[in-house]
């Protein structure tokens, strides 16, 4: 039997082993709740996009459209999954009193929060990885088909020179599967991570999963329309001081998700400077840290 003296043993401020146990438990929970079923829907959608009727479009623009739809859907599924999966965690643990049994073990509240977030982030990363692979496979198949048919078509035309054929194929290749597309998937991951951290923060004071989901989507949409809303209000009120302050507060509280839209350029074939990716990485880390810190400040003093 444990004796009193053993309770005096020091407990680390953050035990990685406990964080990992909670993260692994979160992953198992979400996987067994069949939250991954959305990947099947995604697979069907991506496969369907490949069979869209593009008769009037050029081969390169066909591939560009396929990429835009596939990566756009991937991004949508990732942030939606981040909100729904995260919103199911803390409120449900509280409703089921599972939280009581966890926090009555030698588990610090910071370990619980970090573990939950880590579990969701790993799952988002895995699902994005799978969706990215699906996109690339579909894109590779479609690219191969289009290059073959384009070669046959161009070669049969005596007025087209070999140089022109090569130029055309190079244009198609630009829209084909490239490793740079991974940056677009990474941007989706970074954005979804911030969304998940924001949802964790909301769930620390929310009364239910439904409230958390609705509020998170609301803030996400505001975060996407920062610039537009600010311009509109400032223009309409001619730079009113109160409105200026209000927009500054809004920008401070809600992340500007529009910043992550650099991935759209990557999808359409634009080159991306590595410094941009790094700066987005740092920005995301900053958001995660701040959201976790505020969540912890609320959660530390929360009474159950």
């Amino acid at each position: 039997m444990t004796t009193f003296t053993e309770t005096k043993v020091k407990i680390p401020v953050l035990s990685l082993s406990r964080v990992w146990t909670i993260a692994a438990g979160t992953m198992t929970q979400l996987v067994r709740m069949k939250t991954f079923y959305f990947l099947l829907i995604f697979a069907v959608l991506v496969a369907g996009v490949g069979y869209l009727d593009f008769r009037l479009a050029t081969a390169a623009s066909q591939l560009e459209t396929i990429k835009k739809i596939s990566f756009g859907t991937m991004d949508l599924f990732a942030w939606l999954y981040a909100i729904v999966a995260t919103a199911l965690l803390i409120p449900r643990d509280l409703e089921d009193r599972t939280l009581y049994t966890i926090l009555s073990k030698p588990v610090r509240r910071v370990e619980y929060l970090v573990g939950k977030l880590l579990g969701v982030l790993i799952l988002i990363g895995l699902s994005l990885g799978l969706m990215f692979c699906l996109c690339m496979v579909m894109l590779a198949i479609k690219h191969g088909d289009l290059v073959s048919s384009e070669l046959i078509k161009l070669s049969s035309d005596p007025n087209i020179t070999q140089v022109e054929i090569e130029e055309q194929i190079a244009l198609i290749n630009e829209q084909g599967p490239r490793k740079e597309l991974g940056v677009a998937a990474l941007a989706s991951f970074l954005k979804s991570s911030v969304v998940a951290a924001m949802t964790i923060l909301i769930s620390t004071f929310a009364s239910s999963s439904l409230f958390t989901i609705i509020t998170s989507i609301f803030f996400f949409l505001i975060g996407h329309a920062h610039g537009m809303m600010t311009d509109y209000w400032l223009h309409k009120t001619e730079g009113n001081l109160v409105i200026r302050l209000a927009t500054k507060v809004m920008k401070l509280l809600i992340p500007d998700f529009q910043l992550y839209s650099f991935s759209e350029g990557v999808v359409t074939g634009a080159t991306i400077v590595p410094a941009v990716v790094w700066s987005m990485g740092f920005l995301t880390a900053g958001y995660l840290f701040i959201f976790l810190l505020i969540s912890l400040m609320i959660f530390m003093y929360k009474e159950f």
Binding site: M1, T2, T3, F4, E6, T7, K8, V9, K10, I11, S15, S17, R18, T21, I22, G25, T28, Q29, R32, M33, D96, R97, T98, Y100, T101, I102, L103, S104, K105, P106, V107, R108, Y301, E303, F304
Partner: protein
């Protein structure tokens, strides 16, 4: 001398509420507030079974939550083996089973114990052996790989009790441990509580099922509207000092008549109750359920 497993001193817990209702005792400047626990003091000595009884809403669960560090006291203190209840180190030595626990429905019994064991820092062979030992103890060896979604209420309570003691704590806190469980399951849980007591583990339980408390507790506190009304050893609380009873087996009518005559001769002594002692409905049920089980075997 070892420190008490639980020491609650002048504990007061006040909740603010913007929704005045029947339980609102006082009104403050910023709105209504409820005094859930009012200057409560008691001790659970190491190795004893202590029962805190009271009706719903009397402050039992709030007291437990303060002891578990899930709530902070408004005033007063709660200590576990000498450590402040809010200190995470105190929870090394606590096992807790909430009322109607759900746990993670998607985990099996074995996975649930593994999860809680790892949270307590157990791993490898030590954890595996402990899981085997506990599943055997709570009689869930046959359901170890079944997901909790398929467990009955009694099975959930038993796996809950197993997770509570996974790290061999010195104190086990049970909130209505047999709520919603049938008499057979209820008996199993009571037997497990007695087994914990035999192993020297302190048990602090809250219940409004008085008969159960009477069967397992050494000391009892009666709480009502947040205040301790009576407290002490169970035997002292329930015994009636000016009465004495004995039960005879195979006594002839003649002997019974002689005893009655003898009593009648004594001034101021009266027989207040006589007749064949009755079994409780619960004991009868358990006897029938037990014999039915044997028939099936």
């Amino acid at each position: 001398m070892s420190k008490p497993a639980v020491e609650v001193k002048n504990l007061t817990k006040v909740f603010n509420t913007g929704n005045p209702g029947a339980n609102v005792f006082k009104k403050g400047i910023t709105g209504s507030y409820v005094v859930a626990v009012d200057n409560l003091s008691f001790k659970v000595e190491a190795g004893e079974v202590y029962g805190l009884i009271g009706p719903n809403g009397s402050g039992k669960s709030t007291t437990m939550k303060v002891v578990l560090g899930l709530m902070a006291p408004t005033d007063g203190s709660a200590k576990v083996f000498g450590l402040d209840a809010g200190d995470v180190r105190a929870r090394n030595d606590i096992g807790y089973l909430p009322e109607n626990p759900y746990f993670y429905r998607h985990l099996s019994g074995e996975e649930t114990l593994k999860f809680y064991g790892k949270l307590c820092g157990l791993k490898g062979k030590v954890l595996k052996d402990r899981i085997d030992e506990l599943l055997d103890m709570v009689d869930l060896e046959g359901a170890r790989t079944r997901r909790l979604a398929g467990y009955s209420k009694g099975m959930l309570q038993r796996i809950g009790l197993a997770q509570a003691i996974i790290q061999r704590p010195g104190l086990v806190i049970l909130d209505e441990p047999t709520a919603g469980v049938d008499p057979v399951g209820s008996r199993q849980i009571r037997d497990l509580i007695l087994q914990l007591k035999e192993e020297g583990i302190s048990v602090f339980l809250c219940s409004h099922l008085l008969e159960q408390v009477q069967e397992v507790c050494d000391n009892v506190g009666i709480i009502f509207k947040g205040r301790m009304r009576r407290e002490g050893p169970l035997e002292e609380l329930v015994s009636i000092e000016n009465r004495y009873s004995f039960v005879l087996e195979n006594a002839s009518p003649k002997l019974i008549k002689e005893i009655e005559t003898l009593v009648e001769k004594e001034k101021g002594v009266t027989i207040t109750e006589k007749g064949n002692p009755r079994t409780t409905l619960e004991r009868l049920f358990l006897k029938i359920a037990g014999s039915k089980d044997q028939d099936e075997v």
